[in-house]
């Protein structure tokens, strides 16, 4: 076994991964919070008012990063599901299933903020615009993965079935996007361009990118938090988990 695979096996072993995740997780949450606050200050205070949309455009600083995250989380989940199914690596199973609820949360935020933004701009809470529709389908995909994972008793079988579904979804996403675009051009009436041709100023761009970075870091923090729990569940009978369970009990009664 070469050094790299050896390292991988060691880090991939549940107790090591659990400890490592516990050490990195607070830094991710902290960094995400700090970067996010800076980005918010830049977006809400420093960035100038948009000449077309007024201050309503400021929703972009959360809407767009969340939309990016909704896709990123899905790719992260599908990539891990692929690794888990092909090489049967436990850690990847747990990582894939940890990403699902976070991705669903970001997708939900994207949909809600998009529709809140739509009200003043389009005069309606919901429009069957191609992007919003694709995002809605994406939310259903996430909910399907989460639902399937929750419905199966055996944890490993659940992760494998849900991972398989996530992989079908990754094929489906571009097809949905393509079909929804076609459908939308068929019904030209309702298409409204959200981000018009107005030039985006540099003072608007940096808070956006910084917020995107913050959400990524936050995402990894949350993935690690959920991965730790997944590892505890998966390795329930092992000594290291037993020690943690008993420690936790002592803390609760102390």
């Amino acid at each position: 076994m070469n050094a790299l695979t050896l390292w991988f096996h060691k880090t991939g072993s549940p107790p090591t991964a659990y400890r490592l995740a516990g050490r990195i997780m607070p830094w991710c949450y902290g960094l995400g919070l700090v970067l996010g606050l800076v980005a918010l200050y830049g977006g809400l205070v420093l960035a100038p008012r948009d000449y077309q949309q007024g201050d309503a455009y400021r929703i972009i600083f959360i809407h767009v990063p969340c939309a990016w995250m909704s896709l990123f989380a899905y790719f992260f989940m599908a990539a891990n599901a692929f690794i888990a199914l092909v090489w049967r690596i436990k850690l990847s199973e747990v990582l894939a299933m940890a990403a699902a609820p976070i991705g669903a949360a970001f997708t939900f935020i994207t949909l809600v903020t998009g529709s809140i933004w739509g009200k003043p701009m389009w005069g309606t809470w919901w429009t069957w615009d191609a992007r919003l529709t694709s995002e809605l389908v994406l939310l259903f995909l996430y909910l399907g993965v989460i639902g399937l994972h929750a419905a199966i008793e055996d944890r490993r079988q659940a992760a494998r079935a849900a991972g398989f579904l996530a992989l079908i979804g990754i094929v489906n996403i571009p097809i949905v996007h393509f079909s929804v675009n076609w459908w939308n051009t068929l019904h030209q009436g309702s298409t409204v361009r959200l981000m018009g041709p107005s030039k985006i100023d540099a003072s608007m761009i940096w808070p956006l990118l910084l917020m995107a970075l913050a959400t990524h870091v936050w995402f990894f923090g949350s993935v690690l938090a959920r991965t730790r729990i997944g590892l505890l569940e998966l390795d329930g009978g092992k000594d290291w988990v037993r020690a943690i369970a008993l420690d936790d009990d002592k803390e609760a009664h102390a």
């Binding site: 995909l141 639902g147 079988q157 079935a161 079909s179 076609w182 459908w183």
Partner: protein
């Protein structure tokens, strides 16, 4: 000792499934009845104006048939799982994906084909526009096998579950969206006097792909859920 040929196994499976449908022929009309009810509810909800109904006719028939198919999907593996013959299928020496393809084909033939045959009647109830009378069954002919194939993969994932109805709908819906858009979209485009060949060709291409890939995916999914 010899084991039979794969063709003989497929033939035996097709014969058995057809016999079973025949023995339970009372249930065979259920999807048609369901689609009829759904279609009949629309005029009751929207009012009987022919113009208004004509505008939505193709879409409503499509959705009604899609829902009826979704309802029928559950029967694809349910009884086979419960009486243990699904296990025997997995353990047979023949390629599982091929056997599943046979099962899906029989299922399509006995649940979706009757729906296509009654689709002109359903269209007539909603005053379907004249030029769509031929196009709607054609679009359905391309779309329903896709629905059966994609649905089978999702059913295979939920096969061991107690109550899978709602979850199955949730799993299947994102996969059905493109099929619905292109199938009903072709009809709508034709109605609006726009070119409609492209979406039908897309459906055809997707069908060819699904014919090859879906049985493989279905077999993989089934192995996961039976383990």
């Amino acid at each position: 000792m010899r084991s039979g040929s794969t063709a003989a196994a497929c033939a035996a499976l097709v014969r058995r499934d057809l016999t079973l449908v025949w023995r339970r022929r009372g249930d065979a009309a259920n999807p048609i009845l369901f689609a009829l009810i759904v279609v009949a509810l629309f005029p009751l909800a929207l009012g009987p104006e022919p113009e208004q109904l004509r505008r939505i006719a193709a879409g409503v028939v499509f959705v009604a048939i899609l829902l009826a198919g979704l309802l029928a999907l559950d029967t694809l593996f349910r009884s086979d799982y419960e009486d243990g013959s699904l296990e025997q299928l997995v353990l047979s020496p023949h390629p599982l994906s091929l056997l599943l393809a046979c099962k899906i084909a029989v299922h399509w033939f006995t649940t979706a084909l009757p729906l296509i045959i009654v689709s002109p009647l359903l269209g007539e109830l909603l005053h379907l526009a004249e030029p769509l009378r031929g196009l709607l069954p054609l679009a359905l002919l391309l779309a329903t096998p896709l629905l059966s194939l994609l649905g089978a993969v999702c059913v295979a994932l939920t096969v061991g579950m107690y109550r899978s109805g709602m979850l199955l709908a949730l799993l299947v819906l994102p996969l059905y969206v493109p099929v619905l858009i292109f199938g009903a979209g072709a009809c709508n485009a034709a109605q609006a006097g726009l070119p409609f060949a492209a979406p039908l060709l897309w459906l055809g291409a997707a069908l060819v792909l699904a014919l090859v890939l879906a049985p493989l995916a279905c077999a993989a999914a089934l192995r996961i859920s039976l383990s």
